[in-house]
């Protein structure tokens, strides 16, 4: 009932190595050594698996991105490291998380994501097949998100020191002229929008760890949000704040925004979309859905006058078809987030204390 490892149904094209790696079905220390084995891993595993997403990659110390004839004045830059356990879960795997996660961080500043670096720490003994499937997923994800995987690194640590795979991705993107999205821009009277149902990613991962079964498929919502953000900016050039509620969930994002902007946020609990299965799982696990991680959702704070147009634009896209207004920004109780309960009472919402759901992303 606990820690039962389940190979989830992941829709990733079967990866077959075009040229077999030299006698290895598992990662060995040499693969991280910078020598022939490392080069082989790049050439015969990573590059073929990444596919068209790595078409620009070069075997140089650093990759130079030539942005001419554009002369962007602002570059967005973000990094994140992914240590999720298990590596594969319903709806995705660590590879997708690693690509979409960083792409989305860039998108939350309104940037058009351009390129990612991918750095791997592999544990000696990791099956090559597993790595291949992860890399293939990354290639697909990058192509779907419209980014290139241009540079990377691989290190190998001894067996027992690594949990299989850790991935770091760093990404850059260009912030278009006139776009200024950050928490301080929130204003009293602004409307708070969430792009869809919350809690899916965290629960999908927990479900594997805790041996919970779902009658209906409950899958991680991991997805790229760059296109969604660009569509929102077309509808309203003056989006004030964007945040992707990953670790700590919706609550953490709203709390961070409220504290930074020194404004209050109020939302109605019953207007926050929570799938039944997430609600049930949260009840069982003793969690609050607003504290559970999401990997394909965003919170947007926009001027009230633009709310309708933004919603319409969002709902056109699959990834935000259930976008909805959940609350507003207020002058009252600066720095504090308040939820109105179904009964009409009010409760202060905090970030979850400590790590309720470790190794979620």
């Amino acid at each position: 009932m606990t820690g039962r490892h389940v190979e989830a149904e992941v829709v990733v094209d079967g990866w077959t190595c075009p040229t077999p790696l030299r006698h290895h079905d598992r990662i060995v220390i040499g693969h991280g050594g910078g020598g022939m084995l490392s080069a082989e891993l790049v050439e015969h595993l990573f590059l073929p698996a990444f596919g068209p997403a790595a078409s620009m990659a070069t075997a140089t110390d650093a990759h130079v991105l030539d942005l001419r004839p554009s002369t962007p004045s602002r570059i967005a830059f973000s990094t994140d490291t992914y240590v999720v356990r298990p590596l594969f879960f319903p709806g995705g795997n660590i590879g997708e998380l690693a690509v979409y996660g960083t792409v989305n961080d860039l998108a939350m500043r309104g940037a058009v994501p351009l390129a990612l670096s991918t750095a791997f720490v592999l544990e000696e003994g990791l099956e090559i097949d597993v790595l291949g499937r992860i890399a293939t997923a990354m290639g697909h994800a990058a192509t779907r998100a419209g980014v290139q995987l241009v540079t990377g690194d691989t290190k190998v640590v001894e067996h027992g020191h690594g949990d299989g795979v850790y991935i770091n991705t760093a990404g850059i993107g260009v912030v278009p002229e006139g776009v200024d999205i950050r928490p301080d821009r929130a204003c009293a009277g602004d409307v708070v929008i969430v792009s869809g149902p919350i809690g899916l990613h965290g629960i999908a991962v927990m479900s594997v760890r805790e041996g919970l079964e779902f009658g209906t498929e409950l899958r991680s919502d991991t997805a790229p949000l760059g296109e969604l953000v660009q569509a929102m900016l077309v509808a309203c050039a003056d989006v004030h704040v964007l945040r992707d509620p990953t670790r700590g969930g919706l609550a953490a994002s709203l709390c961070e925004i409220a504290e930074t902007a020194q404004l209050g946020i109020e939302f109605d609990e019953h207007s926050v979309p929570v799938p039944d299965a997430v609600r049930a799982a949260c009840g069982f696990l003793g969690l609050d859905a607003i504290h559970v991680a999401n990997e394909g959702k965003l919170v947007a704070i926009v001027p009230a006058s633009s709310a309708e147009e933004v919603l319409v634009a969002m709902r056109q896209m699959d990834v935000a078809s259930e976008a909805t207004i959940i609350g507003r920004v207020t002058d009252a109780h600066p720095g504090i987030v308040v939820a109105r309960t179904r009964l009409g009472g009010a409760r202060v919402v905090d970030r979850p204390l400590g790590e309720q759901l470790p190794r979620i992303c």
Partner: protein, 69 residues
């Protein structure tokens, strides 16, 4: 052990303490064990009572409802 549906999530639960429970019954579960079978008639009676309260204005002080259970 039996499979219990918590509203879209299913989990195995031990029924040692509730041998009278059968398929489609509702149960109260605690720490992996069913501790009580839900008395559906009593549940509906409670809801009927609440609905009646919502329909009529609050009664005079001292009026008691018949005790339940």
């Amino acid at each position: 052990m039996a499979t219990v549906d918590f509203g879209g999530v299913t989990k195995d639960v031990c029924l040692e303490f509730t041998p009278e429970v059968g398929l489609e019954d509702y149960v109260i579960v605690h720490a992996g064990f069913a501790i009580s079978k839900v008395d559906e008639a009593a549940a509906l009676e409670s809801l009927r009572l609440f609905a009646a309260m919502a329909t009529f204005a609050p009664g005079p002080v001292g009026e008691r409802d018949e005790a339940e259970g």
